[in-house]
């Protein structure tokens, strides 16, 4: 009886230690570069890149199956930053960066179906069933996930109006 208890205890302890060591040394690490990229990306998981969320896109960019320009909300700035991080050449002409845009709801068309507010990755759309919905300018990231969902085409993407606070003096034409 004692021999059986002892041998089982020892066996259990030994196996536990081996497992612990294995966990320590054979751990499957998250790729640190991917993590860094995820930190740089918008993080709204809007899916416009065609991957399930920002982490999917980051993985694809690192293993080369997607270009650094694949994130539309990130725009030129993100593409340049990613390319610099990975040492890639980047073809910026692929990005149509015609300035930031945000979603706007035409109030007379909205029937209050709530489909748009359900998909918004930043909870930027406010409204209740059968009530007119509205978009919070400050929270909308311009990912356009909501546009397709609207049954009455009340949602459109509009360029963010330029204000005096946001205006940037144009770069002089090169000599």
């Amino acid at each position: 009886m004692i021999a059986a208890v002892l041998s089982l205890t020892l066996l259990g302890a030994a196996l536990g230690i081996i497992l612990g060591i294995a966990n320590k040394f054979l751990q499957v690490e998250g790729n640190p570069v991917v993590d860094e990229l995820i930190a740089m990306m918008p993080g709204s998981n809007c899916g416009q890149c065609g991957f399930p969320g920002c982490s999917g896109a980051a993985t694809a960019i690192v293993d080369g199956s997607a270009p650094p320009t694949c994130c539309p909300p990130g725009g030129k700035a993100l593409a340049v930053a990613i390319a610099a991080k990975l040492g890639l050449a980047v073809d910026l002409s692929a990005i149509a960066d015609d300035g930031p845009k945000i979603a706007v709801i035409a109030e007379e068309l909205c029937i209050g179906c709530c489909r748009c507010s359900k998909v918004c990755p930043t909870d930027a759309i406010l409204g209740a069933a059968k009530q007119i919905h509205n978009v919070f300018r400050e929270a909308c990231t311009g990912c356009s996930s909501c546009i397709e969902k609207c049954p009455t085409e009340a949602l459109v993407m509009r360029p963010v109006p330029v204000t005096l606070q946001h205006w940037v003096m144009p770069k002089p034409l090169a000599a």
């Binding site: 930043t122 205006w167 003096m169 002089p172 000599a175």
Partner: protein
């Protein structure tokens, strides 16, 4: 880079002491010698809610409301802001948007006031002995009067005075440099109202606790120097100091260096070395605010340029359209034929404006109509690396290197070369033989960097929002599951109870029967 830095320092040290800056043809006379003309109140005044650095003022009047001259139209918001007052009596006809005095041609929210012609003051609270007030009280009166820096930057004066008091500054530098070509409104003010300016300076000394005021006036204004010296003669604390005429002498750091001999550190503010700088016109506005309780509702504007028929200084109400000021001053030569550029402010650091229907704001020192000969808008040639820009830069920077980096959008490298120290004075572009628009590069780059910073902040906010949404979804799912579990438990409990009740019910008649049988 290291070598370049040493090169820069070598040149910088050499030059900061003796020959930075440029000597543009000052074009100040004959406008400076013509007596000031006071413009009558126009039919309508256009008053942008943001005429100062900081938060825009918030309207306190309604459309259709009648206001007296000097009545509050919009109140200050936040720590750095300034209120706005009615420049004349009349009716508020709209709160809308007007073109800003800004090169973008964008508009600003504004109040439109229709004058009733009576020009009647509201009740003012004068103060007979302002030197009996505490510094904080002076600050409050200056803040309530909406006084901002009238030299062009339009920083709320009360904020600056309060900051100086806290920082315990020792020296008040009064900027009478007016180094920008074409402008002469400060010159005119010093000639005509020297006693008032000196009184205002003494009030500022009282408000800041500074011991001495050094009034720097460029030596190309002998009349102003004489007038100010006479007015300041009996006050030992106010010293008038002629300084050499050289652009940008009126820039804070340069003027402080010349007057006190102390250099403001590159990333520091004048208060760090115990100095603050105010403009002469601001001193006069402070006096009016403290002694008479009068808000800032008018200012002196220089109308000048080759296209102007009768150059001179005009006293106008804030909110008057540039168009009307020019018409009052005598109009444009040949109805504006040959006009190449419209500028509000000075030619070096002022704002190019898209048309004349732009209102005069608190910081507008000039309205300039320049012809092609004055603008010199030649096609830029490639840089010949002559180094003229390096010699001219008052901040000891390397404009040629910075602009080359910015051309390639390497903004980070431009910062390494000192982009953030650039005061956009325009000396480099002025001297460049290749006519490279250097300042435009620097203003562009600063705007671009600010936009990048904003984007970064926004990105962080987005992440937080997405995270909060995920938490919300998780919480909702959890609550749903809990509710479902609860309902299930209740259903089961109910079913069990029912079953028990049924069992009891079916047992009861049997028992009753038994009992009956027993009877």
């Amino acid at each position: 880079m290291g070598f370049m830095n040493r090169f820069k320092h070598f040149l910088g040290d050499q030059l900061l002491g003796n020959n930075w800056g440029v000597h543009p043809d000052d074009h100040k006379r004959p406008a400076a010698d013509a007596p000031v003309r006071v413009m009558p109140v126009p039919a309508r005044l256009y008053l942008p809610l943001q005429q100062h650095l900081g938060g825009a003022a918030r309207p306190t009047v309604l459309v259709g409301q009648k206001v007296s001259k000097g009545e509050l139209l919009a109140e200050a918001t936040g720590m750095v802001s300034a209120p706005l007052h009615a420049p004349t009596s009349g009716t508020v006809v709209a709160v809308t948007e007007v073109t800003a005095p800004h090169p973008s041609g964008l508009s600003l929210p504004a109040i439109i006031l229709e004058a009733d012609g009576a020009d009647e003051w509201c009740e003012l609270t004068a103060c007979a002995d302002p030197f009996a007030l505490t510094p904080a009280d002076i600050g409050r009166r200056v803040a309530a009067a909406g006084v901002v820096g009238l030299g062009g930057a339009a920083f709320p004066s009360a904020v600056k005075l309060g900051g100086a008091l806290r920082a315990e500054v020792t020296t008040l530098v009064i900027n009478g440099g007016e180094c920008e070509p074409y402008l002469s409104c400060d010159d005119r003010l010093m000639r005509d109202a020297a006693a008032g300016i000196v009184d205002g300076i003494r009030l500022m000394l009282h408000a800041t606790g500074a011991r001495v005021a050094l009034v720097g006036i460029e030596d190309n204004k002998p009349e102003a120097i004489a007038a100010m010296q006479a007015a300041a003669a009996e006050f030992a604390a106010v010293q008038v100091r002629p300084v050499p005429a050289r652009y940008p002498m009126g820039s804070e750091k340069q003027l402080i260096q010349v007057l006190t001999g102390i250099e403001v550190p590159a990333d520091g503010r004048p208060a760090d070395i115990g100095v603050i700088v105010h403009n002469v016109a601001t001193a006069l506005a402070v006096r009016a605010a403290v002694r008479e309780g009068k808000p800032l509702i008018s200012r002196l504007v220089t109308v000048n340029g080759n296209c102007v028929a009768a150059p001179g200084n005009v006293e106008v109400r804030i909110g008057t359209l540039a168009e009307e000021v020019i018409a009052f001053a005598g109009g444009l030569k040949g109805d504006g034929l040959g006009l190449a550029r419209r500028i509000m402010g000075g030619p070096m650091m002022g704002m190019q404006i898209p048309h004349w229907r732009v209102p005069v704001v608190k910081g507008s020192s000039g309205i300039l109509a320049l012809d092609a000969a004055e603008v010199a808008a030649a096609e830029p040639d490639p840089c010949i690396r002559c180094g003229s820009c390096v010699k001219a830069c008052p901040m000891g920077l390397l404009p040629l290197e910075m602009s080359a980096r910015i051309r390639n959008e390497a903004y980070g490298e431009a910062i390494d070369y000192g982009l953030k120290d650039c005061i956009a004075c325009g000396c480099c572009a002025y001297v460049c033989p290749s006519k490279i628009p250097l300042v435009q590069y620097f203003v562009h780059a600063k705007g671009e960097l600010a936009a990048q910073d904003r984007a970064k902040l926004r990105g962080e906010a987005t992440k937080k929002l997405a995270l909060q949404r995920q938490e919300r979804l998780d919480r909702e799912a959890r609550e749903k599951a809990e509710a479902a579990a609860k309902r299930k438990a209740e259903r089961e409990a109910a079913a069990a109870a029912k079953a028990a009740a049924e069992a009891a019910a079916s047992a009861a008649p049997a028992a009753a029967a038994t009992v009956g049988e027993g009877v």
